[in-house]
């Protein structure tokens, strides 16, 4: 029994989709997917959505999208959190043999809320929330601890942003399509030492949808199915003082498990493309290390080597990554969608030639607390 991605659709990511409600935003992307696959809503067996109540400013955030995702009278369920986890639940529904097709949809509109206050609410109400912590300050803590432990320079971190922004130029869906230099990053205003404005992602609006199917149905719907080969989910400690702030140990464990399932022994050789949720510049370097693309503390050298650029041994975030389009809860599912585009050869100007195996990484919470690693392969 196998599960395939048979089609993906994305909206253009923008700073403010001011004309669309959540319902209309998800409808746009689901309808696009239907048209692309030549199916109707009746062909969809079940729906899984991924969203967050604080981000949307709505309890039961999936209630707002029922009409838009076509789940009226159907079985819909909703993973509260990143879309990569929603993908996994959808895949389980196919693998259980109870549904031939399952639609996964994830959406967010960062423009509608105050992201710092929303993220402050992630912290517990006894020991952390009253300190005023948010995603920017905790990213600053993590970046500083990681960079000073391993001697990573601000220039090296900035190179991640430069690479991703350059890649975004090739991605018609990307939010920020503006090439920048290392100098631009270094000169941007300091927000949480050592992170500057350009080390941090923008806030974006958008939605992504994909249809999953079992083997038999996949054959009818596409010539280029993308198969799930490996999966792991691993959660780090919660309280910041209980975390290892210099190494993403939970991501490392998740990667090992997913590699084992997918039969990957040498990630650099076996993986052709990786799409990861990097929440700040140096975060991507930490992710390289945790995914085993380079040794511990070698993230800086690895970005210097250029191997994660387009044309390198393992291009990371050809889409431009989260640093170019940060659609909160949709980021993980966008990574999956981008890997699917790569493995089906439909990635246009951002295409990695002959990409056969891809990795998608989605995360929940502050600084990679909840980690979801997915490995995909084409036929």
């Amino acid at each position: 029994m196998k599960v395939a991605i048979v089609g993906v659709a994305q909206t253009k990511y923008e700073s403010n989709k001011i004309d669309q409600t959540y319902m209309e935003l998800t409808f746009e992307v689901v309808k696009k997917l239907h048209n692309q696959l030549g199916i109707t809503n009746d062909d969809v067996g079940s729906v899984i959505t991924g969203s967050n109540d604080f981000t949307d400013g709505r309890t039961i955030a999936n209630m707002a999208v029922q009409d838009g995702v076509g789940s009226v009278r159907k079985s819909e369920s909703r993973v509260s959190g990143d879309g990569a986890f929603a993908y996994v639940y959808a895949a389980m529904r196919v693998l259980s043999q109870e549904y031939d097709t399952v639609l996964v949809v994830s959406h967010s509109k960062c423009s509608e809320g105050d992201q710092c206050l929303i993220n402050n609410s992630i912290f517990d109400p006894f020991y952390q929330r009253h300190l005023g912590l948010d995603q920017i300050s905790s990213a600053g803590l993590m970046a500083n601890m990681y960079m000073s432990k391993y001697g990573i320079t601000e220039e090296q971190a900035a190179k991640v942003v430069v690479k991703n922004r350059k890649n975004a130029f090739n991605n018609p869906y990307a939010h920020i399509q503006k090439e920048i230099t290392v100098d631009d990053v270094l000169k941007s205003p300091m927000l949480a030492y050592p992170l500057k404005e350009l080390d941090l992602p923008p806030y974006s609006d958008g939605a992504v949808a994909m249809l999953l199917a079992n083997e038999e149905t996949a054959k009818k719907l596409t010539d280029t199915p993308v198969w799930l080969r490996g999966y792991a989910n691993c959660t780090d400690a919660y309280y910041l003082g209980n975390r290892n702030m210099t190494d993403l140990i939970a991501l490392e464990l998740a990667a090992k498990e997913a590699y084992k399932m997918a039969g990957i022994s040498d990630p650099i050789k076996d993986i052709d493309v990786a799409e990861v949720s990097e929440n700040f510049s140096a975060h991507e370097l930490m992710i390289y290390e945790a995914l085993g693309f380079c040794g511990k503390g070698e993230g800086g050298k690895f970005i210097d080597s250029g191997e994660t650029q387009m044309g390198g041994k393992i291009p990371v975030n050809p889409s431009g990554g989260v640093l170019s389009s940060n659609v909160a809860m949709a980021n993980g599912l966008i990574r999956v969608a981008e890997v699917a585009e790569q493995l089906t050869g439909k990635a246009g100007k951002r295409q990695i030639p002959d990409a056969k195996t891809g990795l998608a990484y989605g995360m929940n919470g502050i600084c990679s607390q909840g980690n979801c690693v997915l490995i995909f392969g084409g036929d």
């Binding site: 206050l117 020991y127 009253h130 300190l131 600053g140 050592p194 003082g241």
Partner: protein, 147 residues
Amino acid sequence: MSDDKRVFEGRIKVPYKHTAGAYVEKFLTEIGQNRKIMGVKCPKCKKVFVPPKMVCFECFEKMEEWVEVGNQGTLKGFTVVTHKTDVMPLKPPFAYGIIRLDGADTDIVHLIKESDPNKLKAGMRVEASFYAKPRKRILDIEYFKPI
């Protein structure tokens, strides 16, 4: 309503009362009343957790042995924030630090009253500065300051 008719400007405004539980309450009471920082020790891995909680998440054991740790410790990491939000207790710029208190096996995250990143360094010693009028809040440790 906003000037922009395409959006509805509203709020979610809710007062919450979060039950602290005996561990949190003891910790907050001790810092406020006695200026003592207390942790709990896991019976299995023997780690001292500061601030305390009921269950050791690694061993899944209930912790019951209270241990006093030092009011001083070592700064393990920091950031200086310059962005501003409504829930910050100090006016930026100020620092957040990850601190290993003397006698503890986990770190505490707290405020550091220092706005110049060049004056902070991992490994430096810091000390808790207590708030004059305790309110049974984590901010009864007003902040940590470099020694």
